[in-house]
Structures are given as structure tokens and as C-alpha cells.
Point group: C2
Chain length 224, copies 2
């Protein structure tokens, strides 16, 4: 029997899942500069993590390294991509074509990493004239037909906060099961629908907290 156990169904810890894309990016960089083999130490340095943690993370996927040698960059790169599921393209719709929606539509990192923006939607009819990143901005009413046509399962919300929940509801109703939310609101969705949020101002506030503490506790904190 093949050493390929039904491992592909193992559950990988959430913390590890969040790091796999970082490893993937590091491996792509290494491949581009011609490296064919790397040790866990090197790769960990590239990814900005501890080498023990890296090895443990990779061990959840299987034994893809060779003791005494290291990892084959191309092989590992493919294995991680397969595990994440970015070996083929995922169609994505973006709703809300304001400043942020514009930026997301033009973001080259999506396409190069396994995602294809198939439609840009906005509720404002004034925007339906525009062409952004080579795509027509279409009416939000077209969501259902677009999702059906392209078999979309991932939606991105870049609307103002007040609109986000209703957009999410509508997305879920059309069959979208994963949502990336940039609106500063907590979305409530049914079980089985995945949501991740990116809140720009929250990140700044976290930085501000630590920044404030630096100046308040000059003696206490380890300030080099």
C-alpha cells in the first residue's frame, strides 16, 4: 500500500493553517532565487518563525523532508499549495468598489496566489459606468447570477459598515460559504460559513496601545 495514508483528512491546527501561506510565500521566494533545497532553519528564518515550530507545522502535512538533508523547495512548495488548496484558481467576487475595493481589485497578489476576481459589484448605480482592473463594475443585483455562473464560494466585502451585514446575508443566500470582511462590523452568519475579518484601524489601535506603554513605563519596559 502507498505511504499516502488518508492523512489529507487530518485536521491541522488553526495556528498552523495561518502560517502555511507564509511558508508558501517563503518557498516561492527561495525557488525564484534558484535554491533547490533548504533546511528547516533557513526556511524558518525566511518565514520569520522558530525552526522547531516550522518543523512541527510541516509534520502535520506529512513527512516531506529528508533527514540530514532538508526539504526540496519545489516539492514542498507544491505540497503546501495543494494542502491549502491553491493549486487551482478560486473565483472571488468583491462587493463595494470604493477606495478599498479599487485597491483590492487591482491587487496583483490575489491572482498570483490562486485567486481570480470574477466580478466587482456595487450598490451605487453611479459606479456602474466604471471599469476597474479590466472589469465592469456591475449591480449588486447581479450577485446571484454571477455566483451561479462562476461557481463562486468566496466573497469579499469592502462596503461601508452599515451595508456589510445585509451584503453578507445576501452572499450566504446565494451560496457563498467563505467571506473576507473589510468592513468594521461583526458579521453574523450561519454555521458552516467561514468569516475572516481585516480591520485596518484595529491594527493601528493595537500598535497605539503598545506605543503608549513604551512612553509611560520608560524604566519598566525593556527599551533598548
Amino acid at each position: 500500500m502507498t505511504a499516502r495514508t488518508p492523512d489529507s483528512a487530518r485536521d491541522i491546527p488553526e495556528a498552523t493553517v495561518a502560517r502555511l501561506p507564509v511558508y508558501l510565500r517563503a518557498l516561492i521566494s527561495l525557488a525564484e532565487e534558484g535554491t533547490t533545497t533548504c533546511s528547516s532553519e533557513e526556511l524558518a528564518a525566511f518565514a520569520g518563525v522558530n525552526s522547531a515550530k516550522l518543523r512541527k507545522d510541516l509534520s502535520y502535512l506529512g513527512s516531506y523532508g529528508t533527514r540530514g538533508v532538508g526539504y526540496d523547495v519545489e516539492y514542498l512548495r507544491y505540497q503546501i499549495a495543494r494542502e491549502i488548496g491553491v493549486t487551482q484558481d478560486w473565483p472571488v467576487v468583491i462587493v463595494g468598489i470604493g477606495n478599498l475595493g479599487h485597491a483590492l481589485a487591482n491587487y496583483s497578489g490575489f491572482r498570483s496566489r490562486g485567486f481570480r476576481v470574477v466580478a466587482l459589484l456595487d450598490a451605487d448605480p453611479d459606479r456602474h459606468e466604471e471599469v476597474v482592473a479590466g472589469l465592469d463594475v456591475r449591480s449588486f443585483e447581479d450577485l446571484e447570477s454571477i455566483v451561479a455562473e462562476h461557481d463562486v464560494s468566496i466573497g469579499v466585502i469592502a462596503t461601508p459598515a452599515v451595508a456589510a451585514q445585509s451584503v453578507a446575508d445576501r452572499m450566504v443566500a446565494t451560496g457563498i460559504t467563505s467571506i473576507l470582511n473589510f468592513a468594521p462590523t461583526v458579521l453574523s452568519v450561519p454555521d458552516g460559513v467561514g468569516v475572516r475579518k481585516v480591520d485596518l484601524s484595529i491594527e493601528l489601535q493595537i500598535l497605539a496601545y503598545h506605543e503608549q506603554r513604551k512612553s509611560v513605563a520608560p524604566g519598566a519596559g525593556a527599551v533598548s
Copy 2:
């Protein structure tokens, strides 16, 4: 008196710090709709967390609630804002005025939450003509004088990946001690400098992983 004990120097768990801005946002919403008092249950629902977790988080700040009653919305809102340090404005510089930089410069959420964008910088001289969000796009060379003039301690990097590390180095050299990095690269900075990263494609990849498993899971053991 406001019992400003040396408590303000207590160390709040990192996980709690990351949630405080969410609570703050929820409290602002509640205040805007005229609510003056709320229970931990209500506030937790608004913030999308467990009420026990909310109470424990708030307990790190002090005892700002009243048993049998709940929390005073305005009072708690102020206490959290003070703890995070957003009662007064933080000056911020944004480097890299591409699509994303544009969006960030125009993002109203920064100003309304205690941050003021004082300068937009870009290495490309062609962009120095532009005016974005009411600010001139200036040369990256001006970083040092701007930081000194406005006493900036927070910098945002929205450049391509290749430029990010050198921008970070320059920022650190000028005295910036907190960096929000949107470039898909791991930054290395000296101890004492805080970095948070936002990687748009990583978020999508995490969603893709779970999405893939949803379709694979029902009939386990499928070998391609």
C-alpha cells in the same frame, strides 16, 4: 478622583488587547443609538464574543461595571479609549502611495479612531505631483524631517514587497517605533520596535483551506 492607580501599568494579555478595539467600536455604536447602560451579555453580542470572555477582558482594566446593573456605556468607552491610548490623536505617516496607499490615505476610520495621517510618501518622483486625501505626496527623502516635525512614532508601509524592508529600516532609523506592514514580506526590526502585518492574500488562503476541506470532507478518503 479617577483612581489612577499604578494599575495602568499592569500587563494586559495580548489576546485581550486585540479585542479592546472591538469592544470600543461596539460601545461607540451603542452610544450612538442612545443606549446609556448595557450588560456584558449585550455588549458581548455586539462585539461577537462570549460574555464570560468579555467580562474577564474588562476585569484586566479594572472594575468599571456595577453588579446587577451592567456597564455605563460612556464611562466604559472612555476607559477603554484611555487604556488603548486613543484619547488623543496619533500622527501617522504612510509610505507607498499605490492603490492600497490611496485607499488607506482616504480611509475615514483612521481619523475617527484617533489617528491622523500627517504625510504621504512615495519613492516614485512621478507621484510627487499628486494630491491624495488633501495631502501632497512627498518624497520618501522627507521622512526624517516629517517624523521630527510631527513627532511621529507610527508608520504604515504600503509599498511593494521588495521595498518594504528598506523602508522599515529607514523608519526605524528616524525613530519610528511601531510599524503596520501591508507588504507581503517578513520584516526584521530591532527589539523594541512593534510590527503588525496585514496580508490580504494570506487571509484568502486561509479561507480557501477551509473551503477546500468542506468539499472534500463529506466523502472522506478521496484520493485524486
